[in-house]
Amino acid sequence: MGLLTNMFTNNRRKSRPMLKKSVLTPQPVFPSVQENIQFMQEALFHTDDLLRQTVSIPGHTSEFLFMYTMCDQSKIREEILKPILDNRDGDLEGILISMRANRYDDLEKVIDLLVKGYAVLFIEGMEECFVIEVKSSHVRSVTEPNNEKTVEGSHEGFVESIIINLQLVRKHIENRNLVVKRYKLGNETKSEAVIVYLQNLANPKLINEVDCRIQNIDADNISSAEIIEEYIEDKSFSPFPQLLHTERPDRVIGNLLEGRVVLLAEGSSTALIMPVTFFAFYQSPDDYSFRSLQGSFLRFIRLFSFVISIGLPAYYIAVVSFHYEVIPQDLLLPIKRSVEHIPYPPILEALFLELTIELLREAGIRLPGPVGQTIGIVGGLVIGDAVVKAGMVSNAMIIVVALTAIASFVVPSHEMSASVRMLRFPVMVAASLFGFFGIVYSVIIILIHLCILESFGTPYFAPVAPLRLKDWKDTIIRFPQWMMKQRSNDPAPQKLDLQRSSGEERQGNE
C-alpha cells in the first residue's frame, strides 16, 4: 500500500528543504593578464571556441577573452574596438564608460558570464576585470503560432526569447502592478525562467505556492517550460493537463487579468498558465472576437465535442453489442445490414480504426507538408474505403470513428485533445464489457477524478464542481462583456469586482 501511495501521490506542496549546493569560493582577479587568461582557459578546459585578442589601449597591456560561438562579431567591433580607436588619447575611464563595461573582481562569476556571451577585458595591474555584453541573438519574428490560429484578433505569437515575450506582455498591460520574478533553474543548465503576475490581483497564497514549487526544483537539466510543468503540476499521473500551454500573448494577458500566474522560460515559446480549470482548455481567444451569441455557440460546440469524443464510440459499441433494441426500427435494418457480415466484435473494429487514425495523425505530423497531405488522402480515403469493401469494418463504424476523430481535434488546446483521445479507450473497453452500465461507471470515475483534481489549490472542475453559477457567465456560454461583473472565482483573485454598470445596461438607465 505504501508503495502504491508513493507511486500515485505526487504532491510537491510539502516543501522539502533545499539541498545545500556547493558554493564556489570567490577567485580574485590576478594582477597579470597572462595569469588571468591562463586561469580562464583552465576553468573552461581549453575549449576551442574561447578566443583571446590583444587590444592596444595606450599605456596599458590589455587583452580580452570571448567565446566566439556566443558572440556577435560586429558587436565586438562596435562595443570594444571602436571606443578604443575613438579615444586614442583619452583616459581609461572614458574608454570603459563608452564600452559600457561592468566591473567584476570574482573570476568565478566571470566564467558564467563568459559562457553566456560576454567578453572579458583584462588590463595589466588592475584588480578588476571588465565585462562587456556582446551576445549574439537570433530571434525569429513574432508570427502567429501554428497550432493556435484564430480567425480574428491579434496574430502575435511568442518566440523563444524571454525578453521579447515579456515585452509582448508588458506592451498590453502598461501597469505598475505587473510583476516579474526571475529564477535560475537547473544546476547544470542554469536556464532562466520567470513568473509574471499582477500584484493587485493574483492571490498571494497562489504566488507563494508557485514560488515554493519552483524553488523546490532541484534538478540538473531544466531546458524548457514543458519540463518545468512536470515538476510543478499537482498530479503527474492524471490524464488531464493541469497547466494551460499557450503561445499567444493575448491569451496570457487575458489570464493575467483574471489573477492567474504565468510562467515563461528562456528557449521555449510556450507560456504556462496556472492555475487553470477544465473549462479553460475549451476557451479560445476567438470566442472574444466574436459577439457573445456566436461565441457562446462556438463554445457550446466545443464542449459538445468533448462529450462526443469520449462517449460516441463507446455508445455505438454498447448499442451494437448489448442494447440493439434502443435503435429505432427504421434505422435498425441499415445498421444490421452493415454489421451483419463483420467477423470481429465491435470493440476490435473500433480499436483497429481508432489506432489507424492515431497512426495517420502521427505520420502526418512527421512528414513534410505536401507528403503529409498525401498520407491523409491515402489513409482517409483508400484505407477507409478498402477496409469496408474487404468486409473487415462496418460502414457505421467508419462514420462513428471519423466523427469522433473530428470532434477530438476541435479542442483548442493540444494537450487536452491528446488526453481526450486517450481517455476514450478505457470507456470503449468498459462499454464492450458491460454496455451502458460500463459507460456510466467509467464516466462516473472520470467525473470523480475531475472533482478530486486540484490545480494549485484551485478545484479543477470549477465552476461546475463546486458549483458557482456566477462563473458560468464565461465557461459554458459567454455572456456579453458588460454583463461579466465579476472575475471568475477559481484563481481566488484579490479583487472580484470587474466593472460597474456599462454598455446596454447604462444606456437603459439614461
Binding site: 448489448f322 442494447h323 433494441e325 434502443v326 435503435i327 429505432p328 426500427q329 458491460f434 454496455g435 451502458f436 452500465f437 459507460i439 456510466v440 461507471y441 462516473i444 470515475i445 467525473l447 470523480i448 472533482c451 478530486i452 478545484p459 472542475f461 461546475v464 464542481a465 463546486p466 458549483l467
Partner: protein, 367 residues
C-alpha cells in the same frame, strides 16, 4: 475537529442528503405502497415525507446541543463509555447493512433488466470500487461530486414527465378510497425509501454556518425527495390501471419502456443508467457514514478516509456471500423496522437523556 478546511456549505448539505435519500427505493416504491394503499399510494408517500421531516427535526434538536460533535462523538458522552461504544457499533453495523442491501437490490435489478449473463459479483465489485474511489476523499470532494450528478434527478423527472402523454386521471379516484389506516400502513412501506437523512447526525458539525441554516438545508432536501417520490408514484398510478399495477414490480421502468421517440427506443435503458448513478451516490452516502463510524470505533474523532477501504471490503464480502433472494427479502423487512429504531428511536432517547440530565457540549472542550 471541525476544521474549516473540510467543512461544506449548507447548500452542499442539501444535495448530500437528497442524493443519499434517493436511491434503490425509487423503482420499487410504487408497487410496494400500492399493494397496501391502492390508488392513494401518493398520499402515503406524502405522509411518509412529513413523518421523515419530523424525524429530521428530532435529529436536528439533538445535534444542535452538540454543535461541534458528530453522533459518534457524543454517544460516549451521553451513554457512558461502554454503552456509547456499543450503540456506535450498532449504528456502524446498520449503515454497513444498509449499504449491502443497496448493492444487493441494485445488482439484482440490473441483473434482471440489462446484464443477465454477467455474474453478479462483477457488478457488485464495480459499484464498490467506484464507491471506494470517492469516499477515500474528504467530505468536501464527496459533496462536490454529489452536486455535480444532481442533474441525473432532473433527467429522471424529465423522462418520467413524458409519460403524461398517456395518462388517465380517473385511476386515482376516489381519493381516500383505501381509508386512513391503509394509507398510514402504506406510509410505513414508503419510509424506507426516505432513509438517508440520518446523514444530518454525522455531518452536522462539518457544515458551515448556524444550526438554523442546517435545518433549512435538511428540510429542503427532504422536500425535494418527497416531491420527486410523490411525482413518480403519482405518475405511475395514473398511467397504469389498478389491475396492471398489481402485476408490475417496477412500474416506473415499465412505464418509460413503453415510450418511443423517433431517435430513441427503450427509454428504460437510459433511465436505468441514470438510476444507477443516483443509486451509487446513495450507496456512497451510506459508505461514508459507515466508514466514519468504523474509524471512530477504533479511534475517537478520527477521519473516515482511513477506514474507507475496510468498510468497502466488508460490504463487498457481505454482498458476495449473501445473494439468496428470499434472505434479501427478510433482510429488507428487518431493515425497514430497524429504520425506525435508528432514525427516530435512538435519536429521540438520546435527545431526552440530553435534556433530562442537561448534557450539552462543553464549550471549548473539544478544541
Amino acid at each position: 475537529m471541525s476544521n474549516t478546511e473540510y467543512q461544506i456549505t449548507p447548500g452542499q448539505l442539501v444535495f448530500l442528503i437528497t442524493q443519499t435519500q434517493i436511491g434503490v427505493g425509487l423503482l420499487g416504491l410504487t408497487s410496494k405502497v400500492h399493494n397496501v394503499a391502492k390508488g392513494d399510494a401518493w398520499i402515503s408517500v406524502l405522509l411518509a415525507g412529513m413523518l421523515a421531516h419530523l424525524f429530521i427535526f428530532v435529529m436536528w434538536c439533538l445535534s444542535r446541543r452538540f454543535p461541534s460533535f458528530t453522533l459518534y462523538d457524543y454517544l460516549p458522552v451521553l451513554l457512558g463509555k461502554y454503552i456509547g461504544k456499543f450503540i456506535q457499533f450498532v449504528y456502524t453495523a446498520y449503515f454497513i447493512l444498509v449499504a449491502s442491501y443497496i448493492i444487493l437490490q441494485f445488482s439484482s435489478t440490473f441483473h434482471d433488466w440489462v446484464l443477465s449473463n454477467t455474474p453478479r459479483w462483477i457488478i457488485m465489485g464495480i459499484i464498490s470500487g467506484v464507491c471506494l474511489y470517492l469516499i477515500r476523499e474528504s467530505l468536501r470532494t464527496i459533496a462536490r461530486f454529489f452536486v455535480l450528478v444532481f442533474f441525473c434527478n432532473i433527467a429522471v423527472i424529465i423522462i418520467t414527465a413524458y409519460a403524461y402523454l398517456h395518462v388517465n386521471f380517473l385511476y386515482i379516484l376516489p381519493v381516500g378510497q383505501a381509508g386512513i389506516w391503509k394509507i398510514t400502513e402504506g406510509a410505513h412501506y414508503a419510509m424506507n425509501a426516505f432513509a438517508g437523512y440520518e446523514l444530518l447526525l454525522i455531518t452536522f458539525p462539518l457544515v458551515e454556518g448556524g444550526s438554523a441554516g442546517k435545518l433549512k438545508a435538511a428540510t429542503l432536501a427532504n422536500l425535494f425527495t418527497a416531491v420527486l417520490y410523490t411525482f413518480a408514484v403519482f405518475t405511475s398510478l395514473i398511467v397504469f390501471s389498478p389491475p396492471e399495477m398489481e402485476l408490475l414490480p417496477q412500474p416506473l421502468l415499465y412505464m418509460v419502456k413503453a415510450l418511443t421517440f423517433s431517435v430513441f427506443e427503450r427509454l428504460d435503458l437510459y433511465f436505468l443508467s441514470l438510476w444507477a448513478v443516483v443509486t451509487t451516490t446513495s450507496l456512497m452516502g451510506y459508505m461514508f457514514m459507515a466508514s466514519k463510524g468504523l474509524a471512530n470505533l477504533f479511534r475517537a474523532q478520527s477521519n473516515h478516509q482511513n477506514a474507507a477501504p475496510y468498510t468497502v471490503a466488508l460490504v463487498f464480502i457481505i454482498v458476495v456471500f449473501f445473494q439468496n433472494p428470499l434472505l434479501i427479502d427478510v433482510f429488507g423487512k428487518i431493515l425497514s423496522i430497524a429504520n425506525y429504531v435508528f432514525l427516530f428511536g435512538i435519536p429521540f432517547v438520546l435527545f431526552m437523556i440530553s435534556i433530562l440530565f442537561k448534557v450539552t457540549e462543553v464549550r471549548g472542550s473539544t478544541e
